[in-house]
């Protein structure tokens, strides 16, 4: 296949692949493969894919600055929106299935359980990013302001990973893998900047918006 064709296939492929975890939940629900506690299982899966997609979107910049690989940049927005999609499913599962919309209990959880506090904060942080994901929003805000706003994604990712770390009882392997990955992704943004920077603080070329 030629390069142009591959590029045309990139977005549809990523789109379909991002829906696979949801389809898997549907199939497993139909087959009764969601364990004895399906609500917890579904919530955990949606949370896992939220973090996975969010960190994937954060890999776009270092993929370009370190390896000159731009494919991820072109699907970064889609990955970010799918991260929000799974975050919404994760949060909705908690609200509707786990808590059956018991607002008193939900409020208690958010205030009293710190892992839920940060998880909720992570979700709230993602909302303005999802709302301003359109080209029109970029124009309306102006690129500078839009970009500053979208730096909130770092905060959301940190809160999301902390949410997972604090959720776990004893086996920190999975959340630790997310944490290490996130730290690596954040550090990778510092390295090239230092190398190139000659007094222009905004020389973070990798930060430009995907075309």
């Amino acid at each position: 296949m030629d390069r142009a064709r591959l590029q045309r296939l990139l977005k549809p492929s990523v789109f379909v692949a991002s829906l696979v975890p949801l389809a898997k939940v549907g199939i497993d629900a139909a087959l009764g493969n969601l364990s004895a506690n399906p609500i917890a299982e579904v919530m955990n899966r949606f949370g896992f894919w939220t973090l996975t997609l969010l960190l994937s979107s954060l890999a776009a910049t270092p993929a370009k600055t370190l390896f000159g690989w731009t494919a991820l940049l072109r699907v970064r927005k889609m990955l970010g929106l799918f991260a929000f999609f799974y975050a919404t499913l994760h949060f909705s599962t908690y609200l509707a299935l786990d808590q059956a919309f018991d607002l008193g209990d939900i409020g208690d959880d958010i205030v009293k359980r710190k892992f839920i506090t940060v998880g909720f904060a992570a979700f709230v942080t993602l909302v303005p990013l999802a709302l301003t994901s359109t080209d029109r929003a970029v124009k309306r805000l102006g690129f500078r302001r839009w970009k500053r706003l979208h730096r909130l994604v770092y905060l959301a990712a940190v809160l999301g990973v902390v949410h997972f770390v604090w959720r776990v009882k004893a086996d920190y392997l999975e959340p630790a893998l997310f944490a290490v990955t996130l730290v690596a992704l954040l550090l990778s943004r510092l390295a090239p900047k230092r190398a190139v920077s000659t007094g222009t603080p905004r020389a973070d070329s990798g930060e430009e918006r995907a075309a």
Partner: protein
């Protein structure tokens, strides 16, 4: 202890309706979310108690101590387990415990007693009259089951061991064998797993040493060949694959309590008024049910056990 009716036969504890309804509910829910026509999807697996291997214990005296609550299907009881010796995912024990050897097996009974011994598990089982006890089981993670255990009262074992006046606590230790218990190869917990009871708790008629469930030998993933069942406490007190029962003077350091003392108390009595720092304990999800139900003090066994804690501040001694 108040006597309860125990006129329940195996056939009466088969709880398929709840189980099937749960599948339907989720199938429909997921189908709705995906925009698939739902009704044809609820064929699901029709697992129930009857799917388990044939009964290995004959007619047992039966005590239903879970009121009119239906036992959780065998297929759920035997596939959704916290048993970190075989992995930290709930499905790991069922996947990894199959090759675990529960014979030959000995249990060391030792410490502040007149009759210390190392006894073969089958000899131990023959000493006591096995009975079926249907208990609620409340996990500290706010889910619960109803399980028909087969076992014998811990008090019977303790009486035969003849504890001295120094025996204030009973300590149970799980087998340490990283080759057979692959989860022990990772330092997730401080192996081997240790749990303990105050001697008067251990003597309470509800405290059971289980060798089976649903009329069959314990599945490996449920703690074969011998496990503790203390239904008024959170599930992590129910130490599995016991190789040692020691009688000691001082309160033992128990596994989860060492791991996070602020989260897992030594007593670990089910208490809706004392939240776990990371989740409320006021409610629980009974496996197979959609809406959470209110958690009962001492998991509904207050009549039998509350007296053990008279005068104690259960918010401090949680």
């Amino acid at each position: 202890m108040k006597q309860r009716p125990w006129a329940m036969r195996e056939s009466e504890v088969t709880p398929e309706s709840l189980y099937v309804r749960r599948r339907e509910f989720l199938s429909l829910g997921a189908a709705g979310a995906l925009g698939i026509a739902g009704s044809s999807l609820s064929f699901a697996c029709d697992a129930r108690a009857g799917d388990a291997p044939a009964p290995t214990f004959g007619n047992l005296k039966r005590a239903n101590l879970a009121g009119d609550e239906k036992p959780t299907p065998f297929s759920d009881v035997s596939t959704y387990n916290n048993y970190y010796e075989f992995g930290t995912d709930k499905s790991d024990p069922a996947a990894n415990a199959g090759a675990f050897h529960t014979r030959p097996w000995t249990v060391a009974i030792e410490g502040e007693i007149n009759k210390p011994e190392v006894v073969d598990i089958d000899d131990l089982g023959r000493r006591f009259t096995l009975e079926e006890r249907i208990y609620r089981m409340r996990c500290v993670e706010a889910w619960s089951m109803v399980i028909p255990w087969v076992g014998f009262p811990l008090a019977e074992l303790i009486k035969r061991a003849e504890p001295t006046s120094n025996a204030k606590y009973v300590v149970f230790t799980t087998k340490l064998d990283p080759n057979e218990m692959p989860g022990q190869k990772r330092n997730v917990l401080d192996w081997p797993y240790v749990e303990g009871l105050r001697i008067d708790e251990a003597m309470n008629p509800l405290a059971l040493l289980a060798v089976g469930l649903y009329g069959r030998t314990l599945p490996n993933q449920n703690g074969a060949p011998l496990r503790l069942v203390v239904p008024w406490k959170y599930g992590f007190k129910g130490v599995k694959a016991i190789v040692k029962i020691a009688f000691v003077k001082e309160q033992p350091k128990t596994t989860w309590n060492k791991m996070a003392p602020g989260e897992y108390g030594f007593y670990a009595n089910v208490n809706p008024d004392v939240d776990h720092p990371r989740w409320s304990q006021a409610k629980e999800r009974r496996i197979g049910e959609f809406f959470k139900r209110k958690t009962l003090p001492f998991n509904g066994y207050a009549d039998q056990v509350a007296k053990l804690y008279a005068g104690m501040d259960l918010r401090k001694s949680f």
